[in-house]
Amino acid sequence: MTTSNVKFESISLKTRIITMLKVDLRRMFTMPLFYIMVGVSAVIPVLVLVMTSMMAGTPSVDPVTGVETTMASFENVWQTLGSTSDSGAMMSMDLVGMCNINMIYFLIAILVCLFISDDFRSGYAKNLFAMRSKKTDYVISKTVVGVVGGVAMILGYFVGAMLGGGIASLSFEVVGATAGGIVACIFSKIFIVAVFVPIFVVMSVVAKQKSWLSILLSLGASMLLFTMIPMISPLDSTFLNVILCLAGGVLLSVGLGSISNVILQKTSLV
C-alpha cells in the first residue's frame, strides 16, 4: 500500500468554518450561475431605466374601461434604490416601486437555492456529512457564501443602475435625501441580504435536492417580507437604519441558522 502521510489541521470551529468557506467560495466563484445572476442583476436596471425613459409619457387606453393612463418613469437614478420616507411611495406597487433594487432579493433566492440543492443533487453533501463536517459549519458556510453572492448581486444592480441612468440621461441629483442617506441606504440593503439568506438556507435544507421546492418556498417567504424592505431601508436612511438592518441580519442568521442546523440533524440527508 502507498504510504499515507496525511497531516490534518487542528479541527477547531474556526478552522472547520474556514476550510468549508474556502470550498464554498471557490465553488461560488467558479460556477457560471453566479456570474449569470450578477450579470442579470446589472442588466435589469439598465433595461428598466432605458425602456421606461423611452416610453415615458406614452399614453395607453384600457380597452375595457376606456381609462387613459400615461407610462410612469423614474425621475432620477436614485429612485432605483428606493423612495424617501416622506414621499409616501415606499409601499408603492407600481413600476417604480417594483422594479427597483428590492427585486434583487428574489434573484438571490434563486442563487442560494440552486447553490445548496446542488450539494444534495451531486452527492457532495453525502461526502461532507459522512466524514467530518458538523451541520453548524455547513449552515454558517452556506449563509456566509449566500450573503457574499447576494451582496455581489446588489452591487451589480447598483452599478447597472448608474450605467442605465447615464445611458437614459436621468438626473443624478439627490432629491429629498443626502449623499450620506444614499450610502446608508445601500449599506442597509446589503445588510438586509443577511435577513433573507438564512430564510433561503432554511428552505433549501428542507427541500434538499428539490431545487424547485426550495425556490418556491423561498420566493413565497420573500413575498411576505418584500414590503418591509423599502420601509427599513429608505433612500434617506440614517445610521439607525443601517444598525437596524445589521441587527436584523445577525439575529435572523443566528435564529434561522439554528433551525437549519436542527433540520439537518433530525432529517435524512439522502
Binding site: 474556502k22 453525502k126 456529512f129 458538523k134 433530525k266 439522502v270
Partner: protein, 300 residues
C-alpha cells in the same frame, strides 16, 4: 474493540419497517461483505452508519465510541449509490474540494496518492462528467480515501462494472486493507466478486441480520464435492449411496460430498460398468450458499 458494533438498530420509513432490530459486528481490518436481497436494509444500515439517515432506535458504536462523535466521524468515509462529485469539475478539482474540506495541508500530495491507489494518475484533468462508469466509481473511492479513513462504507461499488473494472476494484480494495488499518463494509449483489475479497460476511433479510460469519467459517460451511454425470443417473446414485453418505442430485449433476477425490469415485463406478461422461471437483459458492440460506436450507 470492533470497528462497527450495532445493536437492535431500527428504522422506519413511514409505515414501512426497513430495519427491525439489526445487530452487526465488524472487526477492525475486515472487508465485510454485506449481503441481502433488494430492500433488505443494507443501504439503510450503511446510510445510518455514515450519519446520512437518522435511526428510530438502537445503538451504533464505531471504534468503541458513539457514531455521532465528531472524532469518530472523521474516520468514516463512504461511497453510497454514486460518487458525490460535481460533473463539470475535473477529477482533480473534485478531489481538491474534498481535501480542502478535510483540512488536509499537503492536499496535492494526498490527491496524487489516492489517484495512484485507484490507478487514475493519468485522468486527473478529465471532467468528471466525461468519465466512464468504472472511472467514476474509482473516483468515488479516491474521494473516500482522501485523509486515509479508518472505516470505508461502499454501497454496491462494483455494480455495472466490466470484468476489467471489477478486477481493478478488487485490487484497490485489497491494497487499501493490506496494512490492516482500514476496515471496509461493502454491499454487493455480485457475490462471486465479493467472495474474492471479503474476510467477513453479514447476511441480512427483512431488516434483520440472519447470519454473520468469517470467510473461514464460510469455507467450512461450503464443502468441496465431486460432481459427475453419467448416462444412467438413477443407477449411479444408487451405487454411490452404498459407498458415500451424502450424494445429492443438483443441476443435472450428482454431487458426492464425502469425497474430494474424483479419481476414486470414477474408479468405483467403473467397477460396476458405469461410464462417467463428465466429472469435476467443485465447492459450494457464496452465491449458492446464500440462495440455500434464503430458501431455508441453512446455506449448505
Amino acid at each position: 474493540m470492533n470497528a462497527v458494533e450495532i445493536r437492535e438498530l431500527s428504522k422506519n420509513f413511514g409505515q414501512k419497517q426497513a430495519l427491525n432490530g439489526l445487530n452487526m459486528t465488524v472487526p477492525i481490518g475486515a472487508i465485510y461483505g454485506f449481503i441481502g436481497e433488494n430492500g433488505s436494509g443494507k443501504s439503510t444500515t450503511e446510510k445510518i452508519i455514515c450519519g446520512l439517515l437518522v435511526p428510530n432506535g438502537g445503538e451504533i458504536k464505531l471504534y468503541g465510541e458513539d457514531y455521532k462523535n465528531s472524532d469518530v466521524r472523521a474516520k468514516v468515509a463512504c461511497l453510497i449509490e454514486a460518487p458525490g462529485c460535481f460533473p463539470n469539475y475535473s477529477v482533480w478539482n473534485n478531489l481538491m474540494l474534498q481535501a480542502t474540506n478535510l483540512g488536509i495541508l499537503n492536499s496535492e500530495e494526498e490527491i496524487r496518492r489516492v489517484l495512484k491507489l485507484v490507478r487514475m494518475e493519468g485522468s486527473a484533468s478529465n471532467k468528471f462528467k466525461n468519465c466512464s462508469l468504472g472511472m467514476k466509481q474509482r473516483i468515488g473511492i479516491a474521494m473516500a480515501l482522501i485523509g486515509s479513513p479508518k472505516l470505508l462504507v461502499l454501497d454496491e461499488p462494483i455494480n455495472g462494472l466490466d470484468v476489467d473494472g471489477m478486477r481493478i476494484m478488487r485490487e484497490i480494495l485489497t491494497d487499501i486493507t493490506k496494512k490492516g488499518e482500514c476496515t471496509i463494509i461493502i454491499s454487493s449483489h455480485v457475490l462471486g466478486e465479493l467472495e474474492k475479497v471479503a474476510t467477513h460476511y453479514g447476511i441480512v433479510r427483512g431488516g434483520k441480520m440472519i447470519k454473520e460469519m468469517t470467510a473461514e467459517e464460510l469455507e467450512k460451511d461450503c464443502p468441496t464435492y465431486v460432481a459427475l454425470k453419467t448416462q444412467d443417473m438413477l443407477k449411479t446414485k444408487a451405487l454411490l449411496d452404498k459407498k458415500y453418505r451424502r450424494v445429492v442430485e443438483e443441476n443435472e449433476y450428482l454431487r458426492v460430498y464425502d469425497s474430494v477425490n474424483s479419481e476414486e469415485v470414477v474408479n468405483y463406478l467403473c467397477e460396476f460398468g458405469v461410464f462417467v461422461s463428465e466429472v469435476k471437483t467443485d465447492k459450494i459458492s457464496l452465491e449458492e450458499y446464500y440462495v440455500n440460506l434464503m430458501n431455508g436450507k441453512g446455506g449448505k
